[in-house]
């Protein structure tokens, strides 16, 4: 017998009236995995996790945990716990009572409850005297940690996060992303996290699922999402990438009208292929015309942006195509704006994205 997946979401559809928020979604989650669902607003990611914890009911399909159906189980009977976007900390209770709330519901004795709450405060690096503070007295980051402590006090099999870091400032967010990843490693719990930031997802997750209009576009490890996106949608989600319109011609790629020269035999493509060829900005380099790379193109520098350790250039080809190049800061060009340059890249830097839409299942 094949090993039972920990969580199996199978053919789940959710409709609100005539609007289909989720369209026959399937997803397996392994025990102890950190899975992040990424998508723009309205892609259905929030809907999916609300179905998972039971706040909303599925229209069609099943959700199983260790082989047992949980989609028919009311939210207060499911071994899942959600950390809400608003955190949903009770403003009329102290930090201690907030953390103890799920244990109190489980009828755990007050002394044991308090001991566990203090232990969780320590785990989340909050001072023990925060036990008696009210929620209104805490900063954003501290509230975040209290919400996490409360979720851990519930001791769920799956902890689900609904963009809990989105309201925080950039630096605090970066710190908490790493803390969350550490916490995941230390507790060994299954985390399902949703965000609209692929960057955030890449820091933390074992696997990333990209959602678009109620369907999964791609489910894979971060590295694969980054370098081998299945669609333009996934590719553009990662920020600035170069996409060249292309088509197959006599078994090779014809690179649109950007004036790209293939020096060493070009790129092989299957017959009838149409789509976009992706080259990441950091895989482009400055070369001498007609040598040193599999592909070259001539252009001129339009703008230069310092990004700290790296530097980014906007370059227009002679045919007028805008290309983004990113290099380590040490490789900064001596010549200034409007300088003529030649860009080069290699065959294995090119990732072809075929035109026909595909949908991922895993």
């Amino acid at each position: 017998m094949v090993a039972q997946p920990f969580v199996r979401i199978e053919n789940v559809t959710k409709r609100f009236g005539r609007f289909t928020a989720l369209d026959r979604i399937s997803l397996d989650i392994a025990e102890g995995e950190f899975l992040t669902i990424v998508g723009p607003s309205g892609s259905g990611k929030s809907t999916l996790i609300r179905l998972l914890v039971g706040i909303d009911d599925v229209t069609e399909g099943t959700i199983r945990l260790n082989g047992t159906r949980i989609d028919t189980m009311p939210a207060n009977k499911r071994p899942t716990c959600m950390v809400f976007q608003s955190l949903a900390l009770f403003p009329h209770m102290s930090v201690g009572r907030n953390i103890e709330f799920p244990q109190k519901l489980k009828k755990i004795a007050p002394a044991a409850r308090k001991a566990r709450a203090l232990e969780l405060l320590r785990l989340l690096r909050l001072p023990e005297d925060y036990y008696g503070k009210m929620i209104g007295q805490l900063s954003g980051g501290e509230r975040q940690r209290v919400a996490l402590a409360r979720a851990l006090a519930f001791d769920p099999q799956i902890i689900v996060f609904d963009e809990p870091l989105s309201a925080l400032d950039y630096r605090l967010r970066k710190t908490l992303e790493k803390e969350l990843k550490d916490l995941h490693a230390r507790t060994g719990k299954t985390f399902v996290y949703i965000t609209h930031s692929l960057e955030e997802a890449m820091v933390m997750s074992d696997r990333i699922a990209i959602m678009k209009r109620g369907r999964f576009e791609q489910i894979d490890v971060a590295e694969a999402i980054y370098s081998r996106p299945v669609s333009r949608f996934v590719a553009s989600f990662m920020g600035e990438v170069n996409l060249f319109e292309a088509a197959e011609e006599q078994g090779k790629a014809r690179w649109g009208d950007a004036g790209i020269r293939a020096l060493s035999g070009g790129l092989a493509l299957p017959a009838g292929w149409r789509g976009a060829l992706m080259v990441r900005p950091e895989l482009l380099r400055f070369v001498a015309e007609g040598q040193g790379a599999d592909f070259t193109v001539q252009g001129r520098v339009v703008a230069e942006y310092a990004l700290g350790s790296r530097i980014q250039y906007a370059i227009d080809t002679l045919a007028g195509t805008r290309i983004t190049v990113e290099r380590p800061f040490e490789q900064r060009l001596a010549a200034g704006s409007d300088a003529p340059v030649t860009l080069g890249w290699d065959r294995d830097a090119v990732h072809p994205i075929a035109e026909e839409p595909r949908h991922a299942t895993a």
């Binding site: 939210a75 899942t80 716990c81 809400f84 608003s86 949903a88 709330f101 519901l105």
Partner: protein, 264 residues
């Protein structure tokens, strides 16, 4: 903030004083009338006496009136807090098919002239064969006051993050536990202010009581009757005591809400 010139400041103070004068002069004159020796309303007062105040406090007749008014007001307060609490949840918290209709219908009794409402209720009670008494007055007061408490609590319910209830459920709380541990404590300041309003509105209500309390007389009803036939300074004396009692209650209520807010 921009600083205000002295002239503007003086003008503002004078304006504020004028408003206070207009609002409180009648009350002050009633105060004077209640300690006047003369049996008729006159101003200025020539000779003072505490006779009417003492009479107002010691008269068994007044005790009976206060008791009836209190009985009605306390019952109306408790019932309208209860109705208002659940009404507010239906008004502001839950999405249901007839909510827009409910939100409009609940406002109607507030806009209805009270005398007409009182008469309509009296006709309705007699059609049902119910003898008007202080009990029917409670129902009449509720028709007018419960919508008001509903609105007051609904304002608080609108400012309530639905995720709080969802989170409680997610962590295993039953509907009853959520109500007791989350919803009720968070709406409590609203419920208390609503109760305060309910008490004061019922305590001072005349038009509804006039039609629906039958032979049982409330304080405002009796004051009116005495005003029409047989004025004595006991009337302003009772009025002053009633206002003082209401003000004290208001202060207690405001203190209570403040205290709860500080805790939250």
């Amino acid at each position: 903030m921009r600083s205000v010139s002295n002239t503007t400041r003086i003008a503002l103070y004078l304006y504020g004083l004028l408003i206070l004068l207009v609002l409180y002069l009648p009350l002050v004159s009633v105060g004077f009338a209640s300690v006047s020796k003369a049996r008729y309303l006159s101003f200025p007062v020539n000779r003072y006496t505490s006779e009417w105040m003492v009479q107002a406090v010691t008269s068994p007749n007044v005790h009976a009136l206060v008791l009836t008014s209190l009985k009605i007001a306390v019952l109306v307060t408790l019932l309208s807090m209860l109705l208002g609490f659940f009404g507010a949840l239906a008004f502001a918290r839950f999405q249901w098919k007839y909510r827009p209709l409910f939100q409009k219908l609940i406002l109607l009794p507030i806009f209805f002239p009270q005398t007409v409402l009182g008469l309509a209720l009296l006709i309705w009670f007699s059609a049902l064969g119910v003898q008007p008494s202080w009990k029917t007055a409670v129902i009449a007061h509720l028709v007018w006051i419960a919508p008001i408490t509903t609105l007051i609590i609904a304002i608080r319910a609108y400012g309530f993050d639905p995720a709080l209830e969802e989170a409680a459920r997610d962590m295993g709380a039953s509907t009853l536990t959520i109500l007791r541990e989350v919803t009720l404590p968070l709406l409590m300041p609203g419920v208390i202010s609503a109760g305060l309003f309910a008490f004061l509105l019922s305590w001072g209500n005349f038009p509804l009581s006039l039609f629906t309390s039958g032979l049982d007389s409330t304080l405002p009803k009796w004051l009116y009757a005495r005003m029409v036939s047989g004025y004595t300074p006991q009337i302003p004396a009772l009025g002053v005591l009633s206002v003082a009692g209401s003000a004290a209650l208001m202060l207690i209520g405001i203190g209570l809400v403040r205290w709860m807010r500080r805790r939250a």
